[in-house]
């Protein structure tokens, strides 16, 4: 057991897989010599050499295209898109090429690749460096999506992503990079599509992802003081989605609140809410409530951004209204 930050967990997770499997390589802008702009890949080039850990030009289409080509030809490449917003720059490669190729070739082509990218707001960077794009990726058939909320899960989900035979987008959250946690020594490997109950409870289920997990946890602590027992679920993986854990919890509590950092329209919570409505409507004791950012780009002003992103206060208020 040792204390580890979320940012160091990224490097540890990648190193664990590179150590194990010589076909794992990593590329991206400033990831090698400089160790990444968020210092998430420090030491990897020194440890694994310039062949396997390599800096690229500012060429997101070339980066993601090269991941695909390399995956077609025997590597398990990891590529970094510095900010998830840059997915838009290479969306053809990601959504048209990488996502569809196994299916369109009748299963001939396997693309075991990982796209890691820094997601989310709260950093005052403004609209083009703050988006939460997990729902956009989730909407494309052929892409798997994970978003760890703590250092341990960064390692476990990174390993699962690298070992998976399909393309996986790993959303690392910028607001969580400094988060610390005691992490077990040795290999950590998760399975994709397993949610965790981080706080058990009986009155309401609060489902959250990435940086919204600590928000939901804080809300649950405050709700406890008001006599409400909230169960907090960290989804961890959107595709595949652990509906069993989720539906089991909601059936017991009878209430569901989703806490989503994405703007309102078509956020992952909309999919979750529709599954609940279709499959366990009669177990509900009240409406499903989605707490999201409004349908706006994120503003850079601290006061406005804090108002936009879901806060513990907003979660508490929504839950109390449901009781």
């Amino acid at each position: 057991m040792a204390e580890l930050t979320y940012r160091h967990a990224v490097a540890r997770g990648i190193a664990q897989e590179m150590e194990r499997d010589p076909t794992v390589v990593m590329i991206g802008e400033d990831v090698a010599a400089a160790g990444g702009v968020f210092k998430t890949t420090e030491g990897l080039q020194a440890r694994f050499g310039p062949e396997r850990v390599r800096d690229t030009p500012i060429s997101e289409q070339a980066i993601t295209g090269a991941l695909m080509g390399a995956a077609m030809n025997g590597l398990r490449p990891i590529g970094e898109l510095m900010f998830s917003d840059f997915l838009m720059v290479c969306w053809d490669i990601v959504a048209n090429q990488i996502a569809k190729t196994r299916y369109m070739t009748g299963g001939q082509v396997s693309l075991p690749l990982v796209i890691r990218t820094a997601n989310g707001g709260g950093t005052r960077f403004g609209g083009q460096h703050s988006q939460s794009l997990e729902a956009m990726v989730m909407a494309i058939p052929g892409l798997k999506v994970v978003a760890p909320a703590n250092p341990r899960d960064v390692i476990g989900l990174m390993a699962a992503a690298v070992r998976d035979d399909d393309p996986v987008v790993v959303f690392e959250h910028k607001k969580l990079f400094a988060m610390k946690q005691d992490v077990p020594d040795g290999e950590i490997v998760d399975r994709l599509g397993v949610a965790t109950v981080v706080i058990p409870g009986s009155d309401v289920t609060i489902a959250a992802l990435a940086a919204m997990v600590p928000v939901a946890e804080e809300a649950a602590r405050r709700l406890k003081e008001s006599g409400v027992s909230a169960e907090v679920i960290d989804l961890r993986s959107l595709v595949p989605l652990d509906t069993q854990t989720l539906l089991g919890s909601v059936s017991r509590t009878g209430r569901l609140v989703t806490v989503e950092e994405n703007p309102r329209l078509c956020g992952w919570g909309a999919e979750v809410a529709s599954i609940v409505a279709e499959e366990i409507l009669w177990d509900l004791d009240g409406p499903v409530v989605r707490i999201t950012t409004p349908h706006i780009p994120l503003p850079s002003s601290a006061e406005l951004e804090d108002l936009a992103i879901p806060s513990p206060e907003r979660v508490v208020e929504a839950v109390l209204r449901l009781q």
């Binding site: 702009v37 500012i58 005052r124 960077f125 083009q128 409004p294 002003s301 006061e303 406005l304």
Partner: protein, 330 residues
């Protein structure tokens, strides 16, 4: 190329532009360390001659497109300093109401058509603005500033080809400060000059200018802007320069060799220009006065920002749509 004769008036304009940009960005840096400017900043300290030279060659209706490292371009097109710092500090007086931040400074009435934070995105956009100028016969020219690293992104190549075949009145200016973030540009291009060596691919002449020499930049700017205005089509200019500070925020820039940094600091565009003006017989007191006036402008702007309120919470959900709101359902 025509060589433009620089008059004393013009030279003082260039000097004033550089001094204002320098003091302004130094203050932004201090305010960032103080926690007043939030998020991030990408300073153009050391690159002021490019901004001053081009701004002085542009006409009032001309359009500037720049990157996150464009505080100086936006200022020198005439945007008010208090509103620029206010934007970086996320205050209500910000030029975008606090919604854009340091990477998105924009002042449309002044022709500062935006700062773009996705590398390369604004090159085709500038071409489009130039196309509109042709269609509407306005005589405007668009000037688009970007870094050396941006020459490696697809949008650069698409925009150059597009502007060249349509002969659009747009000037593409690569501010080659030798680094894309922490990586030396030489490590990620197979040629020596990221922009100039690629110009021929678009049927354009390779143009290189000393980006720390305000006179040289201004002369080049005047030539290419007037060429564009006359219908002679686009140009691609590579201005050789250097940023004095790190890439962004408090980056100490340790990936750059000490001797290289020192050499470029010694070749400071302000210092060399001041010396040149003194040599040309301009009185030191005239230059001192420009410096004093610029400093008091910066101090005033800082005061405005310190006294400014945060944005009204009600503005969070304004201005998504043309009707001023952001609603999407009834």
């Amino acid at each position: 190329m025509v060589t433009v004769v620089t008059t004393p008036d013009l030279r003082l304009t260039l000097y004033r532009g550089m001094v204002r940009a320098r003091y302004f960005e130094q203050r932004v840096y201090d305010l960032f360390l103080e926690g007043i400017v939030k998020g991030t900043t990408h300073l153009g300290l050391g690159q002021e001659a490019v901004a001053a030279g081009f701004a002085a060659a542009m006409h009032p209706g001309d359009m500037t497109f720049c990157t996150y490292r464009g505080h100086n371009h936006t200022l020198l097109r005439g945007a008010p300093m208090g509103a620029l710092i206010g934007e970086m500090a996320g205050r209500s007086i910000g030029i975008c109401g606090g919604k854009g931040g340091s990477m998105h400074l924009t002042d449309v009435p002044k022709g500062a058509m935006g700062s773009y934070a996705i590398v390369g995105a604004h090159l085709p956009i500038a071409a489009g603005a130039a196309w509109a100028a042709v269609v509407r016969k306005t005589g405007q020219v668009a000037v688009c500033f970007f870094g050396d690293g941006a020459t490696n992104i697809g949008a650069f190549h698409e925009a150059l080809n597009f502007a060249a075949i349509w002969r659009l009145p747009v000037v593409f200016v690569c501010e080659n400060n030798l680094y894309m973030e922490y990586t030396p540009i030489s490590a990620v291009i197979p040629v020596e000059h990221p922009a100039a060596d690629r110009a021929r691919s678009y049927g354009l002449p390779p143009l290189i200018v000393d980006g720390n020499d305000a006179d040289a930049v201004h002369a080049m700017a005047t030539d290419v802007i007037e060429l564009a205005r006359r219908g002679g089509g686009p140009s691609l200019v590579e201005a050789k320069t250097y940023r004095h500070k790190g890439h962004s925020r408090a980056d100490p820039g340790t990936y750059r060799p000490q001797h290289e940094v020192e050499a470029w600091l010694a070749y400071d565009p302000l210092r060399i220009y001041r010396d040149r003006l003194l040599e040309a017989g301009i009185a030191a007191s005239t230059l001192d006065q420009i410096e004093r006036e610029s400093m008091s402008e910066v101090d005033d702007a800082t005061e405005q920002v310190r006294n400014a309120s945060p944005p009204d919470p009600a503005t969070l959900e304004t201005d998504l749509w043309a009707d001023g709101g952001s609603s999407w359902r009834n």
